[in-house]
Symmetry: C2
Subunit: 394 residues, 2 copies
Amino acid sequence: MLPNLTDTPSSASRKSFEFELVTQQDRARAGILRTPHGDLPTPVFAPVGTQASVKALTPRQLEELGATLILANTYHLYLRPGDLTIAEMGGLHCFMNWRRPILTDSGGFQVFSLAESRQVDEEGVTFKSHIDGSMHRLNPEKSISIQENLGADIIMAFDECSPPYERDYNLQAMRRTHNWAERCLKAHKRDDQALFGIIQGGIHLDLRRESCEFLQSMEFSGFAIGGLSVGETKEEMCAVLDLMNELLPRKKPRYLMGVGTPEDILRGIICGVDMFDCVLPTRLARHNAALTRTGRLNLVNAKYAADPSPIDQNCSCYTCQNFSRSYLRHLIVAREMLSSTLISIHNLHTLIHLTQLIRKSIMEGCFDDFAKEFFLEIEKEKVEIDDSPQFNNH
Amino acid sequence: MLPNLTDTPSSASRKSFEFELVTQQDRARAGILRTPHGDLPTPVFAPVGTQASVKALTPRQLEELGATLILANTYHLYLRPGDLTIAEMGGLHCFMNWRRPILTDSGGFQVFSLAESRQVDEEGVTFKSHIDGSMHRLNPEKSISIQENLGADIIMAFDECSPPYERDYNLQAMRRTHNWAERCLKAHKRDDQALFGIIQGGIHLDLRRESCEFLQSMEFSGFAIGGLSVGETKEEMCAVLDLMNELLPRKKPRYLMGVGTPEDILRGIICGVDMFDCVLPTRLARHNAALTRTGRLNLVNAKYAADPSPIDQNCSCYTCQNFSRSYLRHLIVAREMLSSTLISIHNLHTLIHLTQLIRKSIMEGCFDDFAKEFFLEIEKEKVEIDDSPQFNNH
């Protein structure tokens, strides 16, 4: 637990929140994010605990596999069990027994992707709960109030996330997001939380530039890059990231929402991103797919039935140190829920460990070589392009 | 890991297996069962890992909550993934990564309770798999062969488990069980496994006496009391246990199969039983019910929605030390599988810890007081007789 290490006078840095850029190699950054619940070395990958639970894992297992930051979803927790209940139980850290930092999103993305019959106006969004069909309204002030009740270390401005291509929709959604960003900053009172702005604009570089410049002028503690990894091409994503790196201030953390795969994390870091989150590792695990650095294994495949080797010979996670592909396949076929737990441990460890290795290589000045070798490895060793299901990453 | 500590000349004691009766208070016994995978202090409660997995828990979590012995099911593992696959993977300990002792049942109970369209004859049983309808045959030799392939420390003779009341059926099933017991002993070759005989006879004391005397004359390493906790009354169960205690040799371990609840475990120990197993704690957990020493909590109950207290204030398990009823209820309502994990940890800890306390009280000569206080506690404090589902304990 870190108390207020610094008391920077700028109101942009919240009392107990500070980002220190430790070193940089080309555009890749290694830093430390100081929060009321401890220091986060960056780059960092955050497992997703949508409903105040990273699916199938205890907080102890998450700590053991090296998780430092986790994400929880405002939309889900507002609907169930309710932010007031969580506040009454001492806040999200206490409720779910996670002593390290937590980030909550704003609910924006979920309202636009999950809720039914939503109606957007300049003031906010009215929507039907996907759980029971009840009607609700979210707006910037409400989203901040919920996030203050939840009590995460890092919270997000309420935004409208638009599909990447339609220019008119993106322009409109971006302008609305800017308007809402101002209201979020105004509404936010807790000084032990860092509020991040979310840059929108789809794949349109002029809109992204406008969004970035507008939000930078405001007192956010960090910036999230929203609306990526939602259907655009790799080239389009990289073009946006290149521009973001050029425009964003060096001294504030940068968070690429909903990414992702080992390859995308590496690309993000090459473009100067500090933070990532994604449901992919735990969702793949529940669909029997193991992530390796360079591909995926579909563990239900009959060829693993008597395979005594672990998912990955070189992996140091609890699952790979103790269980064979044969056993994991048996658990899957026998519908034992332990399969989700064990594969989730491996998948999360893969991304977290990769991020740690990348940080180390940046600190030691050999990130270039690391990245080159990694891309070669991907090309050469792709162990299996299997038919594991494709997911929206969020 | 214990190598062969003793090399008793009697072929009844298998090479690396020995039971030491450490002390006794009235009929209650505290002992040590030495196995190739370590010493088991008795009385012992064994969690059930039917398909080579104690549902929703990793072996590490089982170790942390104090499990020493676990049970796995011959019937299920023979059908899936197959005992030959498990043997090829190094045996059950290696396959499921459980380094402590394992007990396998014989498949008898499951053939009679789970399989479809079974046909029993003197030689064995033909049955249809409950998984895919394929036809199979189990007999004493096959059951032992499967259990040798699985490689548990303690294995069971193949038996016919009959419903408790019909006298004719019980007589017939018992005689068959005796015949099969002889064949099991003859078939069993591995000297690193202890083979237990199973006493049958339903609620009929004369049959139980005959079964006990017959099996005692043979070279079993221990005795299981089968066919209880399957619908008979408490009084009927106790009458059988009283008789068993009277007839069974002091120097061999006694195992009451499929029991049970805190109260039944205590009653068993009062009647001289050393070993117990039951699916109840993990099955209740998957149905949202928490075991306490004296009752059950149905955690889905709305009254727990904002209850900050743990399941049991006095419990030292990981779940009670870290999570509120409010959080557990949220996980249940939100269908997060972590609820099964956390409640299983608590439920298993409750039974294992109770058994440890009982052992301690026997060692210290105060078991009488312990038992008296416990029964008073049950009478006085029954926290909740709720409508949680009733289960067959097996």
